[in-house]
């Protein structure tokens, strides 16, 4: 190829590129006028990557309902985009925290300052949500959290932080209410509590709440064991627990340790009357890996698939989720689903994307229970703490390798199996 010929091609290419860039930027600005950006921070890399994908799909499901027309009764289902802003579409910009509080915070700052998001959602791990919401507080940008459970988050009385999900403190209270109800139903005493928890922030907070509420409800804490998560061997923990002869074991454990505890209990033939877990074995791989040995454990859930019986809208959303993503909508996706809906509702009522206007609208949020996928009476924020005052968990029991809601009775689809059967009889 001759030199001037090559120059010609380069020149022509350059002009073409310029034209293309011009068209794109024009198109961009036209689009940008009718787009509302929301930032979402999740741990997309690292050991929680699988969970993060589930959380992301929950957010995308909500955005799909907001942005497109759907033929069932739900908020924003019969409109496209935000009605009061001429149908402006919600666009979510996802960022990766890698599960690290520092990264979470800097990503929050980046989303606010260079991406220009009007609000934030996320970040799953309470420690990350804590720092990312500090950034939002500093810049004065609304942060709606649907997927972190540390009680502390809403005890800070932040001006810009709102939480739709219930928190661990509330759950422990429900746990004790459940025990009292079990005592009434069965006439057996369940007063001796053995508490086991992992010794980082989440577990320790659960333990603190359990200790306080045990006193309030008149239960006796006969053993209290902190363990190291990821331990290679949990037999000394289990031996001590067994020696204290508790009626009830309350455990704040991650799924991995919970699997090992179940195996160790089985080997030692340790079967307390009730085994309760506060941690994460609501994830599907818990039952997948343990199979029948997972049965009869009680655990908290923000959502359980058997709730479709109580809530017609669930059938619609779960089906659309399955069609869109090719897998079931699990509890974590349900949790992250609520935050964009809450935000879209507030932006719509505010009729503006000004932070202060959105914040005022958030304070007046009153979403009826029929538009919540979780079994709540609705979403309404406490004026001081900004915690959803209707936020509640349900207690499920694993029976026949499936989760069934057993408490509160208003949502129960099955009765509990009590007491926890001896390992050799199952």
């Amino acid at each position: 190829m001759r030199k001037d010929e090559r120059g010609f091609i380069v020149k022509r290419g350059f002009i073409l590129l310029c034209v293309l860039a011009l068209v794109l930027s024009l198109g961009g600005t036209v689009l940008a006028d009718n787009v509302i950006k929301i930032g979402a921070i999740y741990p997309f890399t690292g050991p929680m990557a699988g969970t993060a994908q589930m959380l992301k799909n929950g957010v995308l499901m909500a955005v799909d309902i907001i942005n497109n027309k759907h033929d069932f009764d739900f908020l924003f289902a019969d409109t496209e985009g935000i009605p009061s802003l001429n149908g402006a579409k919600i666009e979510v910009i996802f960022a990766d925290s890698a599960g690290d509080p520092k990264t979470g915070m800097s990503e929050a700052e980046r989303l606010i300052t260079s991406e220009g998001v009007v609000a934030l959602v996320g970040c799953y791990q309470s420690s990350v949500t804590k720092t990312a919401s500090q950034a939002a507080e500093r810049y004065g940008i609304p942060f709606v959290n649907g997927d972190s459970s540390s009680p502390q988050l809403t005890e800070r009385n932040f001006k810009w932080f709102f939480r739709s999900d219930p928190h661990d403190g509330l759950y422990v209270r429900q746990q004790f209410e459940h025990l009292v109800e079990l005592e009434k139903q069965t006439g057996e005493s369940l007063r001796r509590i053995g508490l086991v928890y992992e010794n980082t922030e989440t577990g320790s907070n659960v333990a603190k709440a359990t200790e306080e509420l045990a006193k309030e409800f008149g239960f006796e804490l006969v053993e209290k064991i902190a363990y190291t998560t990821g331990a290679t061997n949990l037999s000394s923990e289990s031996t001590r627990l067994m020696a204290s002869k508790p009626d009830v074991v309350m455990m704040g454990a991650y799924i991995s340790d919970q699997i090992l505890f179940a195996k160790t209990f089985k080997t030692m033939r340790f079967a307390p009357k009730v085994w309760h877990n506060t941690g994460a074995p609501g994830e599907p791989d818990f039952i997948d890996s343990l199979k029948g040995d997972a049965n009869y454990l009680f655990l908290r859930q923000g959502f359980c698939a058997d709730q479709v019986e109580n809530k017609p809208v669930l059938v619609e959303v779960l089906q659309r989720f399955r069609d869109k993503f090719g897998h079931e909508m699990m509890a974590d996706a349900v949790r992250s689903f609520h935050a964009p809906i809450v935000l879209a509702d507030a932006i719509n009522r505010a009729g503006s994307t000004e932070p202060e206007a959105i914040r005022q609208a958030l304070l007046e949020t009153d979403i009826p229970g029929k538009y919540c996928l979780s079994p709540w009476e609705g979403i309404k924020f406490d004026p001081e703490t900004h915690q959803n005052i209707y936020g509640k968990y349900i207690i499920c029991q694993i029976q026949e390798e499936t989760f069934y809601t057993v408490f509160p009775s208003a949502f129960a689809t099955r009765g509990p199996v009590f007491p926890f059967p001896a390992w050799e009889d199952r």
Binding site: I225, T239, R240, L260
Partner: protein
Amino acid sequence: MNVGLVQALLSGLLMGFVYSLIALGLSLIYGVMDVVNFAHGEFLMLGMFLAYWFSVLFRLDPLISIFIIIPLLFVVGVGVYKGLIKRILNGTRISQILTTFGLSVFMANMAMFLWTPNYRLAERTLTRATGDLPIFGVHVGIPEVIASLGSIIVFALAYYLIRFTRTGRAIQATSIDSEGARLVGINIDNIYAITFGLGISCVGAAGVLLATFYYIFPYVGTFFSMIAFATVALGGFGSVEGSFVAGILIGIIESLGGFFISPAVKYAIVFMTYMVVIILRPATGLFGW
């Protein structure tokens, strides 16, 4: 109390044998090649995942597939040596550390990419090798008993190979003085490849045995490799006998410490014991030379 003591002692002892086998591979590779393999825990993870996939795809119990996985991991070990470790043998210490550390990050993330971060348990088809045994009034899991017996057997085989065969003598000679070994006509490169393969087979075998009762996920190796480092340092880097005794010691210290003092500090006690030994016998551990 007595029952608790017996339970703690027994489960500590059983786990200790597995720790010994995990430590053996690490100690061997260091003793002969002077390379600290930071990817050791990831090879354990690889052994566990292989056991899992054999159990799911071919319905082979880990206790059967172990006979396939040990030679397989030997080949993998030789391959990793030829492709990677060989190139850094004459490099600086820092480049060796970065390479094996990088390998560990790569393996854990590759496992996560290929097999998702989900937790799994291997499927057991040999149902007779599950359940539990009553011993001295307490119950211990049959898989745990088999895992510790299996660890002893593999350890004994490796020990025999190193101490009493021609190849083993060549490995020992290389470990003592690689230049001298080269002078008497030992092919150092082959010895290194065999040693690395042997080390990886040992830790992989421990992984397969663990997979009979322990949960499996991409980062499962992290905690085990921390214990392995403490074990090797306690027993003396490079000492085969040291690994054996130190593994058992650590298993028992962990279990009894957790039972008598508090489970929250059981690993603190393990690492404290290790630090005391390091202070008293800094260069050699309990058995090193």
